[in-house]
Amino acid sequence: MLHTIFLILLLQLGGEILQKYFSLTVPGPVIGLMLLLGLLLVSRRKTSGWVPKFRQQMVDSAETLLTYLSLLFVPIGVGVIMHLQLLDGQLLAVLSVIIVGTIATLIFTAFLFQLLRRKHDHD
């Protein structure tokens, strides 16, 4: 468990360093995600020795962490309620943009993805 936690932290750290050094607009943790995915894919063929065992441990730790993904948004969410005054006077307009924009984006992406998948099936 500790090894996998170390690797996750190390990759996030690597991501942060790359982001700062090259002043990228992609945040460090997302670069860390790409690094981890790359490592897993590169090591995919290794089926003996410590690599597959470690990979399984990685899967288990990550899934444990992702089970509580919702919890991790609570602290920043509380900040939302406590800092609502930042939106002074624009609350209603901002909420309208969010709600209408969210509904429109949901419909647009779901339809587009469904359409492209179907077309793909007929190729």
Binding site: I8, Q12, V30, L69, S70, L106, F111
Partner: protein, 244 residues
């Protein structure tokens, strides 16, 4: 010393320590999660929204500053970074599905991310919001840490962007199921994809709690749209502000 005084002293000590706020956060989440499960995952009882309501209620009732609360809750907040890295796992485990759908995935991420930005820009202009607020709104569909970074690059207010992305996440997670049912979109992959692209981590958490396939596509959409949005918002913003 009276009992009331003693209790007050304990309270003064506790509220300065992280332990109390950590316990409160985890406890509120467990209550919210139990409610969510008991309601058979009714989307309006979103666990993030309920826990946030419970915790903020306590803070307001006892007149506690957010900074004091966050001093304890930051340990939970910190895990968002590692959890983002860990999102590589569901993508890796379903790599074959992802590769089989790569054309649909890439096209939808590109067009969907641009659509989310344009509709936000259009609506915000229509409602006459000020420049700083518009800039803070643009990256709202991607996960908070990414959105805050983008907001800073284009001259928005990062903390306002954090608020907006969380509200977007909760809104999508809470009403997404109704909207997609109404539109008769039954394809679980398409539903998950829309959740992840529109409502980042909160939408992904909702999709994952319902269905594995939907969760995977949500994670893929969230990760990729985060990258795409980070790359195109600054560009698109320059184009849009030049045109208006």
């Amino acid at each position: 010393m009276t009992d009331a005084n003693r209790l007050y002293e304990v309270w003064v000590y506790l509220q300065a320590e992280p332990l109390f706020w950590l316990t409160l956060t985890v406890g509120a989440y467990l209550v919210a999660d139990a409610l969510y499960r008991a309601s058979n995952m009714f989307p309006l009882l979103n666990p993030v929204a309920i826990s946030v309501t419970l915790v903020s209620g306590c803070l307001i009732m006892f007149d506690v500053e957010y900074e004091r609360y966050f001093n304890g809750a930051k340990f939970i907040h910190f895990l968002l970074g590692p959890a983002t890295v860990a999102l590589a796992i569901p993508i890796y485990l379903n790599w074959q599905i992802v590769m089989a759908e790569r054309r649909a995935i890439i096209t939808t991420v590109m067009l969907g991310a641009v659509f989310a930005i344009l509709i936000t820009f259009g609506l915000a202009h229509l409602l006459g919001l000020d420049q700083a607020t518009i800039r803070s709104l643009l990256p709202r569909s991607v996960t908070a840490p990414i959105a805050m970074g983008i907001s800073e690059v284009i001259g928005g207010i990062p903390s306002l962007t954090a608020i907006i992305t969380i509200v977007t996440g909760v809104t999508g997670a809470a009403i997404g199921t109704f909207v997609l049912d109404l539109m008769r979109i039954r394809d679980l992959a398409a539903r998950g994809f829309a959740f992840g692209l529109t409502s980042h981590g909160i939408g992904t958490a909702r999709a994952m709690s319902r269905d594995r396939t939907a969760g995977v596509f949500a994670a893929v959409a969230m990760g990729l749209s985060g990258i795409v949005t980070a790359l195109i918002v600054p560009l698109l913003f320059r184009l849009l502000s030049g045109g208006f």
